[in-house]
């Protein structure tokens, strides 16, 4: 079991965690919309055409998946910035 091994003050740790948590909530909100809300309404989106596809079908077969990939890359980029700001970056 290791003791506290970072130089951060308790107050800085709290601020760091608030920022990290907020980023996580944004990622989860995007996830909720594209994983659950959009598929739920996919049948009614099918009347719209997108790149030649019915939009609802496009979203569940491809669109939501692209959003998931972009979300993770964005989330990690933003988290890296927060880590660096608090001197917790490592590379």
């Amino acid at each position: 079991m290791s003791a506290g091994n970072t130089q951060l003050s308790e107050e800085a740790k709290d601020r760091y965690w608030v920022k990290t948590r907020n980023l996580t909530f944004i990622a989860l909100a995007i996830w909720f919309v594209f994983a659950l809300v959009v598929p739920y309404f996919a049948p009614s989106l099918n009347s719209v055409s997108f790149m030649g596809f019915p939009l609802g079908y496009y979203m569940i077969a491809q669109g939501s998946l692209i959003v998931f990939v972009l979300t993770i890359f964005w989330h990690n980029w933003a988290q890296d910035k927060v880590d660096d700001e608090f001197g917790l970056g490592e590379e």
Binding site: Y16, A35, I66
Partner: protein
């Protein structure tokens, strides 16, 4: 080559990929020279399995850190590839496009669920578990909540979920091996198992990691080549994934024209197309979509063979990075599966295409080579049930599992492509089976044997125990698989539901809720797992599903019970002591020493 293996990864796998492409070209030349299809299939399967076994042998180790977590030196991109292979099972590779072909809208829930889950892995789990420095998932539960009871509960759930899953993978490798070597399925299963164990026995996680990278390269090439080829033949452009919208409209038109009717007389084991390609069918279709997707997503974030891959990276930041790469590599296959299902369906249905069979005279269809080959093994059937001599849509029967394997033949591609697809399917099934067997054996050897039974055991004994367990579990898996209890897909969905019922909330709240304590976690695991399993038993024994939650969605019941039990019991019992609370805070800081020391 100069430098260590890790420094030369790019060159090693570049050479390997080039070598594989040369091998495929060589097979194509052999085919033109008149070598039989059977020999080419055998060479594909034999050659790739030998390569994996060589990698497994070269990665042998007697060090604990290398055996359990590949020495924690796997770079993010390679860990992403290894995770993608670990993740994409026989079900994803072989069965998914077939499922979309026959299941339409409802089935796409798997596509959304098996990709969206990675957002949960990335934001809720992977970085924190990596910081923790554990060897296995029960290791985290056991340390965070303290006490052997929590650790044991986690081990039991892990074994049930992973074992359900691994039998399906051994089943799939056995099926492919049986076809390639022309032997009965019962023997094929054992041959498949030998291949799987060759990759993991000697080198544990290190060997599995480097074979999985090799297996990913084979499986993604094997999946993409036929789709690109078909698309260019049918005129949907160079990159079919973005251009097949027209095909969807055409299929909808053709479905209306032919009519989607049940078969006059059903044939066991094979089905006719009755579900529309796009529109949802049945009551609660949207609700059933999102509940299935949710079970698959939370299951993704609780399955130990996936979570433990993120223990192998050097840092917390590289663990996060490798989740992003994993999803990108998985996405390449998952956004291709609907394209493959659509293009294959169109080429059977559309009378303007030379490959179409619907609406053609029965006698002509019966004389096609691929119809004859697959009917001979009972995977395809053509029956003129209305007696008009013309093949109707509801007179063409096919087993959903074979859509991917049969597509190259349906499209009239050379046999070398079928051999390639078989090698890809085998790579997918083997890599997942490896990861699962290792997750089970490691939990039993590290958590049950070392942490609970004999904490003084020395390194050599621990690693021998780990390998013996691997052998026993593999044999048990092959034995169960040879009994052929459930179809490939059912077993996979169950594994996800078992995992999320018992493990999702104890894992998430372990990081995100300091107040969570041992009695709460125990209640969460036990109540969630028992409620989920009891509901599965109720539905399977003929009970009416509540709100359309059938046997592949029992995770919803299990997770709800788990959450309620865990929160209520945690709040009714004393908060965890200051040391545990500090440990949770420490887990949230990405740098610094891990919570668990190097060789624990």
């Amino acid at each position: 080559m100069n430098g260590t293996f890790i420094q030369n990864l790019g060159r090693v796998y570049g050479l390997y990929t080039g070598g594989f492409v040369v091998f495929v070209i060589l097979m194509a030349i052999l085919e033109q020279l008149g070598v039989s299809a059977q020999t080419i299939g055998l060479l594909f399967v034999g050659f790739t399995v030998v390569i994996y076994a060589v990698i497994g042998f070269l990665s042998r180790t007697m060090q604990v850190e290398a055996y359990y977590v590949a020495g924690r030196e796997v770079p993010a991109v390679y860990n992403g590839m290894a995770t993608a292979a670990d993740w994409m099972s026989g079900a994803s590779f072989v069965a998914m496009a077939g499922g979309i072909y026959f299941g339409g809208y409802g089935y796409l829930a798997y596509v959304v669920g098996w990709t969206g889950g990675y957002i949960l892995v990335n934001s809720l789990m992977a970085p924190y578990l990596r910081k923790f420095g554990c060897y296995t998932v029960p290791d985290f539960i056991g340390t965070r909540y303290g006490g052997n009871s929590a650790r044991l509960a986690a081990v039991i759930i892990l074994v049930v979920a992973s074992f359900t899953y691994v039998t399906a993978q051994i089943d799939a490798s056995g099926t492919i091996a049986a076809r390639a070597f022309r032997i009965p399925y019962e023997y094929g299963v054992w041959i498949g198992l030998v291949g799987i164990l060759l990759c993991s026995m000697l080198g544990g996680m290190r060997a599995v990691t480097w074979t999985q990278v090799a297996q990913y390269i084979v499986l993604i090439i094997a999946y993409l080549v036929p789709v690109f080829w078909m698309s260019n033949v049918q005129g949907f452009g160079l990159i079919p994934q973005f251009g097949y919208g027209e095909a969807i409209h055409r299929i909808t038109e053709l479905e209306a024209q032919y009519g989607l009717a049940k078969a006059a007389t059903a044939i066991p084991g094979v089905s006719v197309l009755t579900t529309p390609h796009v529109a949802p069918v049945g009551d609660l279709a949207e609700w059933r979509f999102i509940t299935l997707a949710l079970c698959m997503m939370c299951g993704t974030a609780s399955l130990p063979h996936i979570l433990m891959r993120y223990f192998t990276t050097p840092t917390v930041r590289s663990a996060r990075k490798s989740v992003a790469w994993s999803l990108l590599f998985i996405f390449l296959l998952y956004f291709t599966a609907p394209a493959l299902a659509t293009l294959t369906k169109l080429q059977l249905l559309d009378p303007n295409l030379a490959t179409s069979i619907i609406g053609k005279p029965i006698a002509d269809v019966m004389s096609l080579a691929w119809i004859q080959n697959w009917s001979a093994v009972g995977m395809v059937a053509v029956a003129d049930q209305n007696g008009d001599g013309i093949l109707q849509l509801n007179e063409f029967f096919m087993r959903p599992d074979i859509v991917v394997l049969a597509t190259p033949e349906i499209a009239g591609l050379p046999y070398v492509i079928s051999g390639l697809v078989a090698a890809g399917g085998l790579a997918a099934a083997m890599s997942t089976a490896d990861g699962l067997l290792l997750a089970i054996a490691n939990a039993l050897s590290h958590d049950l044997y070392y942490k609970m039974i004999d904490p003084k055991a020395d390194t050599a004994i621990r690693l021998v125990v780990a390998r013996v367990l691997l052998l026993i579990i593999g044999a048990a898996g092959a034995f169960v698989a040879s009994l052929h209890l459930t179809g490939i897909l059912g077993a996979v969905a169950w594994a996800f539901c078992f995992a999320c019922s018992g493990l999702f909330f104890p894992l998430v709240l372990g990081v995100w809720w300091k107040r969570a304590n041992r009695p709460g976690a125990l209640a969460g695991m036990v109540v969630g797992f028992i409620c989920g399993s009891a509901y599965l038993y109720y539905v399977r024994s003929g009970g009416t599903p509540i709100l359309g939650l059938d046997d592949v969605r029992f995770g919803i019941i299990g997770m709800s019970a788990s959450l309620v039990a865990m929160v209520v019991v945690s709040l009714l019992t004393p908060a965890p002591d200051a040391e545990i609370q500090r440990m949770v805070e420490e887990t949230r800081i990405p740098t610094g020493k891990p919570i668990l020391g190097g060789a624990h």
